[in-house]
């Protein structure tokens, strides 16, 4: 995601960083690049203008010019202003009211409201220990209600049935009533997509809002939206007392310009970012980390958190034990690792959060590992007997042939896997011999500068 903006800005960062002296002219060059990068990323023109003006003012000020490394300082200014533009700090949902707390979802057609409602319900249930109820007030789009019912079942949360003949406000009130009786502490109200210029529909959602008194009114916006994102956001913000924004589809190769514009125009915090179609794909939005990602500095903090979330603790402890002993790390464990990686959203999701130059290196590496390769490895391991998994040295030519046939791959693939595994075991032994420092030194080259 954000690749385009990231790559362009990374280029600017690279050129400017090296400059010994920042002059009016090379600042102007860099700013022009930044301007084009932001416009190409669909940041709204007025927002771009203001942003450029602010960066320029600071860049030519004492702080940067007087610095020993003006290039670095310039990048610092851009980073700080980006963070500021996106709202400085993460703001969480505020559900501290007498239950049930009502959350109203609003947005254009196709922005991802229903999917986000499902994701948010899962997040509240799994990570916040809430008991959410979801209800759909979309009585217009065919099968919208059925879609939410399916998502609710997948997330394992309560669903309040509604049907197309009903009035949205009636549905929502009935749902709140039901929630009160069944001790649901949060009610997520999904609504039909609507255009901000559609008076009748906007009146309907205002009525809905007045009826259920939501504690949170979230504006769901597609991060691929173009220049009009600002106008849409402004119109919704004027019609409804929004409390926050959810950005969706951040995993496309888009550029997320909307992230920068919407916050600026509405003044409302971006609370979550949605990635992927799986229910787990909703993350709290952190402006600081996003700015780092945009500037190609990577987002290690999110990566670590993601890892914590995805890894089964008992599993991890077992693995750590094996690491310590330096032996007993067998193919079964290797498979477990791959499965954990998949839980974290696959390699793609992990790579996304790495600094731009590491990402590029990874893409160019000859044995580019993608999620398919991982799946194939899993398949090969699945075709081995438990004995073979525990003692890979058993595997000789005829067993290799059998495994290859079982997994539907050429024998070479089995060989490659065994070689890779051998390498890994070697690494484990190094770790065991107190070679952690050594390994870290080897890895330092690829990790970003910590600041």
């Amino acid at each position: 995601m954000l690749e385009n903006l990231t790559q362009r800005l990374a280029k600017v960062v690279k050129t400017v960083r090296g400059e010994a002296r920042l002059t009016e002219s090379n600042v102007a060059d860099a700013l022009r690049e930044v301007r084009v990068a932001l416009l190409e990323a669909d940041v709204a023109l007025p927002v771009v203008r203001e942003f450029i003006a602010r960066v320029k003012e600071k860049a030519l000020g004492e702080e940067v010019v007087g610095s020993l490394t003006p290039g670095q300082a310039f990048v610092g200014v851009v980073h700080r202003e980006l963070v500021h533009l996106m709202g400085d700090a993460n703001e969480d949902l505020d559900l501290a009211v007498a239950p049930p707390a009502v959350v109203l979802m609003a947005g254009l057609q196709g922005s991802g409201k229903t999917t986000t409602t499902g994701k948010l319900a899962r997040l509240l249930k799994e990570e916040r220990r809430r008991k959410p109820l979801v209800v759909s007030c979309d009585v217009y789009r065919p099968a919208a209600i059925a879609q939410l019912r399916t998502l609710a079942a997948q997330a394992g949360v309560d669903f309040f049935p509604s049907h197309e003949g009903q009035k949205p406000a009636e549905i929502a009130l009935a749902a709140v009533d039901w929630a009160r009786k069944h001790y649901n502490d949060v009610v997520l109200v999904d609504t039909a997509g609507r255009l901000a210029i559609d008076e009748a529909m906007m009146a309907e959602i205002r009525e809905l809002h007045a009826a259920v008194h939501p504690v949170e009114t979230l504006f769901v916006v597609d991060s691929m939206q173009g220049q009009d994102a600002v106008n849409v956001a402004r119109a919704f913000n004027e019609a409804l007392p929004l409390t926050g924004v959810v950005l969706t589809k951040l995993d496309g190769d888009a550029r997320g310009g909307a992230a920068l514009s919407v916050r600026q125009v509405t003044g409302k915090p971006i609370k979550f970012a949605g990635v992927g179609e799986k229910l787990g794909g909703l993350e709290p939005f952190h402006p600081e980390r996003m700015a780092s990602r945009i500037l190609g500095m990577g987002d290690i903090v999110s990566l670590v958190e993601e890892a914590k979330k995805g890894i089964d603790e008992a599993e991890a402890r077992k693995l750590a034990e094996k690491f310590k002993k330096g032996k007993g790390f067998d193919l079964e464990d290797f498979k477990a690792q791959i499965q954990q990686m998949k839980k974290m959203g696959g390699l793609g999701a992990l790579l996304d959060k790495l600094p731009a130059h590491v990402q590029q290196a990874a893409a160019q590496s000859p044995q580019a590992m993608d999620d398919r390769a991982l799946r194939r490895i899993e398949g090969i391991i699945n075709s081995m007997t438990p004995g073979e998994r525990a003692r890979p040295e058993l595997i000789k030519a005829s067993r290799k042939r059998r495994i290859a046939a079982g997994a539907g791959v050429p024998v070479q693939e089995v060989n490659r896997l065994l070689n890779q595994f051998g390498e890994m075991q070697k690494m484990m032994k190094q770790v065991q011999r107190g070679g952690v420092a050594k390994m870290m030194r080897a890895m330092k080259g690829v990790l970003p500068r910590m600041r």
Binding site: G110, Q147, D228
Partner: protein, 311 residues
């Protein structure tokens, strides 16, 4: 597009469509067309025009090309009257967009198979409904294939639509998109249906495995019938910014597109991205949709579009 179906310019129906197109592009026209009310052609006018085009999602490259071309033309033809410059802009735009017009004749094969792809939430399923309606009013029999086997209730959405409008829908419980569409083509042949519209699940072009799946769907369609799919279209949301261009490129590289459908040009959206597409990856625009009504999806005519955008 559907040239043999195109209505004559002065039929009342065509006039009402033009009015709706103008309404759909109202905001863009106000910001672009409104610039030419001044007394003289000067640098400030060009700068305002550049800003207006950028804000209409035309993108940096297409905007600069248009403004540069217009500047050169103004100098060459000594245009000093803003109204004349406005005409010149309209002409430049029309010339830029003209290659996007294309005729499609569903009578070329039977059944004529049209495969529809796009990102999530672009309006694929809704557009399919509208195209089916359009084709039926033109006298074709239509069958829908519910190839979106992934999104919750996508199948139900298409089936509900088909029931409402008396169009047969081939769907399966779960299963594989390619298999559903294969079945649908067989069924169409058996029933003597003219056109098959094949829906697919929405996907972002960055999801490479899903793009592979889409290629497979296309291959399987070719197995079901020689020469099929006759058309491969991608649905674009007019609210999408410069990413629309990335989408066109990615889907075109994967599938070899024959057309685009631009939806949701309904008063908030901008439509300038059409210019960016025309410059960078001129895939023909077969349909544009200006509203939520079932009749609001129509073939694209460059001259009408340029006029609605500028005048």
């Amino acid at each position: 597009m559907f040239g043999f179906l195109r209505k004559s310019k002065d039929s009342p129906e065509s006039a009402s469509w033009l009015a709706r197109l103008r309404e759909g592009l109202r905001r863009t026209r106000a910001s672009v067309g409104g610039l030419f009310g001044g007394a003289k052609v000067d640098e400030a006018l060009f700068e305002d025009l550049e800003a207006a085009l950028l804000q209409a999602d035309a993108g940096v490259e297409a905007t600069q090309a248009l403004v540069t071309a217009l500047r050169a033309r103004a100098r060459r033809e000594r245009i000093e009257d803003p109204a004349a410059l406005q005409k010149a802009l309209e002409a430049e735009l029309e010339a830029l967009l003209a290659p996007l017009e294309r005729d499609v004749d569903p009578r070329a094969a039977k059944p004529f198979v049209i495969m529809i792809a796009g990102v999530n939430g672009a309006g694929k399923t809704t557009s399919i409904g509208k195209i089916a309606k359009f084709l039926r009013t033109e006298g074709f029999s239509v069958l829908l294939a519910a190839g979106d086997t992934f999104r919750a209730a996508a199948r139900e959405q298409l089936v509900a639509w088909g029931e409402r409008n008396g169009v047969p829908v081939i769907a399966q419980e779960g299963g594989d998109a390619a298999a559903v569409i294969f079945d649908a083509i067989q069924a169409a042949r058996a029933r003597g249906i003219d056109v098959v519209l094949a829906d697919t699940a929405g996907r972002l072009p960055t999801q490479l495995h899903l793009m592979e799946e889409l290629k497979k769907v296309k291959r399987v369609i070719a197995k079901a019938q020689d020469g099929a799919p006759h058309e491969v279209w991608v649905v674009l949301d007019a609210n999408t910014g410069q990413n629309a261009l990335a989408q066109v490129k990615a889907f075109d590289d994967a599938l070899g597109l024959t057309g685009l459908i631009l939806t949701k040009l309904d008063g908030t959206a901008k439509g300038g991205v059409v210019a960016a597409i025309a410059r960078n990856r001129p895939v023909p625009l077969v349909f544009i949709g200006v509203g939520e009504g079932i009749d609001d999806l129509r073939p694209f005519v460059a001259a009408d579009f340029a006029r609605a955008l500028v005048e």
